[in-house]
C-alpha cells in the first residue's frame, strides 16, 4: 500500500478500534478486581441505544454520552449485585447480562431502527499537531471521543499501577482474603470496578451509535463486546497493551472494509470472519506462550466469602 492510502487506512483503524478500546479498558478494571463480566456485549448495546435515544430527544450528543454511561453502569450493577453480594456464578450472570442487554436494547430501540443520529460526533482537527505529516492526519483529525478513549486508557493504567488505589484494586483481584485482612472492603472495590467496566462499555456502545456508524440498528455491536473480552486477555490485563490491541483489531476491520470497496475478489463473508479468527489466534498465542493464564488476577471469577477465610 502506498503512503497516500496508508494514512486514511490507519486513521480508520483507530476509529474502528475505539469502541473496543473503551469496553476492553473497562473490562480490565472489572477483572483486575476479580470480577469476570461476560456481559460486555449487552452493556455496550444498552449504552449504544441509550446514547442514541437521548441524543435524539435532546439534540445534544453529550447528554447521550451521559445516558450511555448510566445505562452501561446500571447493567453492570445487576452483575455486581449477583456476583458480589449474592456470590453467584460469574460466567452465567455475564451471559444473562448479554442476553438481557440484547433484549432491552432491541426493545427500547425498536422505533429508532435505521434513523440517523441527531447530533453525531464529527472529527475535530487539533491545531498545529494535525499539520505534522503522516502522523497528523492519522492521530489528530479524529473525533473527540477517540482522544477521550486514549486518555481514559492511560488514566486507568496510571490508576492501576502508580497509585495506592490501584494496589487496592489489584489486591482484591489477586488475594481478597489478604486485602480483607488489611481492612480493604473487597465488596466495595469489586462493585466499583464492575460499575466502571459497565460505564466504559456503555461509552464504547455510544461511540458506535453516535460517532462510528452513526445510527442505531438491532445488534449494532455485532460481537465487538466479545472481542473486547478476548482483548483483555491479549492485553494481559493491562490498559496500555489494550490500546495496541484495540487498534490491531480495528485495523483488521478496516482492512476487510477496504478490500471490499477496492473490489478485490474475496467474498466479503471471509473478510468478516477475520476479526473473530484473529481473536482466536491471538488468544492461542498468548496463552501458549505464557503457559496457562499467566497474568490473570489469581482470584478472577472466584466469589469472595469471608466465612471461608
Amino acid at each position: 500500500m502506498e503512503l497516500s492510502a496508508l494514512v486514511p487506512f490507519l486513521a480508520a483503524a483507530i476509529v474502528a478500534g475505539t469502541p473496543i478500546l473503551f469496553a476492553a479498558v473497562g473490562e480490565v478494571m472489572a477483572e483486575r478486581s476479580g470480577i469476570l463480566n461476560l456481559g460486555v456485549e449487552g452493556m455496550m448495546l444498552v449504552g449504544a441505544v441509550m446514547g442514541f435515544m437521548i441524543t435524539i430527544v435532546t439534540g445534544n450528543h453529550w447528554t447521550g454520552i451521559i445516558a450511555a454511561m448510566a445505562g452501561g453502569g446500571l447493567m453492570a450493577l445487576i452483575h455486581a449485585f449477583i456476583t458480589v453480594t449474592l456470590k453467584g456464578n460469574q460466567v452465567v450472570s455475564g451471559l444473562a447480562l448479554t442476553i438481557f442487554g440484547t433484549g432491552v436494547s432491541g426493545f427500547l430501540g425498536k422505533s429508532y431502527q435505521g434513523m440517523p443520529t441527531a447530533d453525531p460526533f464529527t472529527p475535530c482537527v487539533v491545531p498545529l499537531l494535525s499539520d505534522i505529516p503522516v502522523l497528523g492526519p492519522i492521530l489528530f483529525k479524529q473525533d473527540v471521543l477517540v482522544y477521550i478513549s486514549i486518555i481514559l486508557a492511560l488514566g486507568f493504567w496510571f490508576l492501576l499501577y502508580r497509585t495506592s488505589w490501584g494496589l487496592t484494586i489489584r489486591s482484591a483481584g489477586e488475594n481478597p482474603a489478604a486485602a480483607d485482612a488489611v481492612g480493604i472492603s473487597v465488596s466495595r472495590v469489586r462493585y466499583l470496578c464492575t460499575i466502571i467496566g459497565g460505564i466504559m462499555a456503555g461509552l464504547g456502545g455510544a461511540y458506535l451509535s453516535l460517532a462510528y456508524v452513526p445510527s442505531w440498528q438491532e445488534n449494532l455491536t455485532a460481537g465487538r463486546g466479545w472481542i473486547a473480552v478476548a482483548l483483555v486477555i491479549f492485553a494481559l490485563w493491562n490498559p496500555l497493551r489494550a490500546i495496541a490491541g484495540a487498534y490491531l483489531f480495528g485495523g483488521v476491520e478496516a482492512l476487510a472494509f477496504r478490500l471490499q470497496t477496492a473490489g478485490i475478489q474475496i467474498s466479503s463473508f471471509f473478510l468478516s470472519m477475520l476479526p473473530y479468527l484473529l481473536t482466536i489466534l491471538v488468544l492461542v498465542l498468548v496463552t501458549v506462550r505464557l503457559r496457562q493464564e499467566a497474568g490473570a488476577p489469581l482470584a478472577l471469577g472466584v466469589p469472595y466469602d469471608r466465612e471461608e477465610r
Binding site: 453467584g88 460466567v91 444473562a96 447480562l97 433484549g103 436494547s105 478476548a230 467474498s267 471461608e308
Partner: protein, 353 residues
Amino acid sequence: MYKVRMVRREHNSMWVEVIVPIMSIILAVAFGWLFLSWSGHDAAATYMRMLNGAIGSKYNLSETVVKAIPLMLAGLAVSLAFRMKLWNIGGEGQLYMGAFAASGIALACGDMSAWLLLPLMLLAGFAAGAIWGGIPGVLRAYWQVNETITTLMLNYVAIFWVSYLVFGPWKDPASMGFPLSARFSLNAYLPVLGTTRVHLGLIIAIIIAVLFYIILNYTRWGYEIRVSGESQEAARYAGINVTRNIILVMLISGGIAGVTGMIEVSGITHRLQQGISPGYGYTGIIVAWLARLNPFAIILVAFLFGALLVGGFGIQTMGISYSIVLILQGAVLFFLLAGEFFRKYRIVLTKGD
C-alpha cells in the same frame, strides 16, 4: 441491634432444588409485567396473547413442540460440557456447521434412499459439529486456552460460512435472488407426525436424554465427568485422564449441537438458508442451566422455552418487539442465580451490638 449474617448451608434441602427454578420463572414473568407496563403496553393482554399463541390451539401447541426440539438438543449438548465446567457457548456455531454438513450430503446425494440418506446426514451433522466443538476442546485440553472465547468466536465464523454458501456457490438459481440453497429431495426430509411439523427430532432428543442419564449416573465415564467437573485436581489425582475427557466431552457436546442443525434443515427448512437458528444455541444454555443440567428436566424446560419463543412471535402483531423474549430469558437467569444464593446460604439474624 440485630446483625445479619450469611451462613453456608450444610446440606441442600430437596424442595429448594425445585422451588428455586419455579420461583425464578414466576419472578421473571412479574418483572416482564412491570417492564411492559412501564413501557406503555398492556401487560395482561400481551401475556394472554403469548399464552394463546403458544398453546391456544392444537396447531399452536405443535408449533411449540417444533421450537422445543432444537432447544432440547441444544440444551443437552451444552449440558454435557457444563458438567465438566467447560463453558461451551458455541452451540450456535456448532449448530450451523451441522446444518451445513447435513445440507451438503442432502444436496449431493438426493436420490439416495431415505433409509441411507437420513442416517448419513445425521452422521455428517454430528461430525461437523464435533469438529467445531473439538477445536476449542483440544486448545483447552492441551494449552488451557479459554474455551468461552474460542467457542463464541467460532459461532461468528460458522454463521459467515453458511452465509457465504447460500449467497455464493450453493445459491439456488431458481430462488430469484434470495439467499437460499436448492430445496432438498423428499428423501432428505425427516418424517413428521401427521399433518403437523413435529418431526423425528423429538424422538432423537429423547433418546439422547435417556443416554445421557444412563451415562452420567451408571457408567464409569459418567463418574469421571462428574468428578472432573467438581475438581480437575482431584480428578487427576484419582487417575482420571482429564485431558482426554475434555476433548471427548467437547466433541460430543459439539456433535449434538451439530445434530440440532441437521434436524432443523432436514425437518423444518428443507434447505440451507440464513438464520436457520434464532439463537437456539444460546437459549439452550439457559435451558440447561434452568434444568440444573438434568437431562429429563432439559426436555421439560425446553418445552417451556419453546412456548416462550412461539408466544413471542405472536405478540409481534401487537407491535411489541420480539426482544421482550430475550428480556424474559435474561431475567429468568438473573432470578435463578439469585435463588442459587438461598440454596447455598441461610440468612441468620443474631442479637449483638
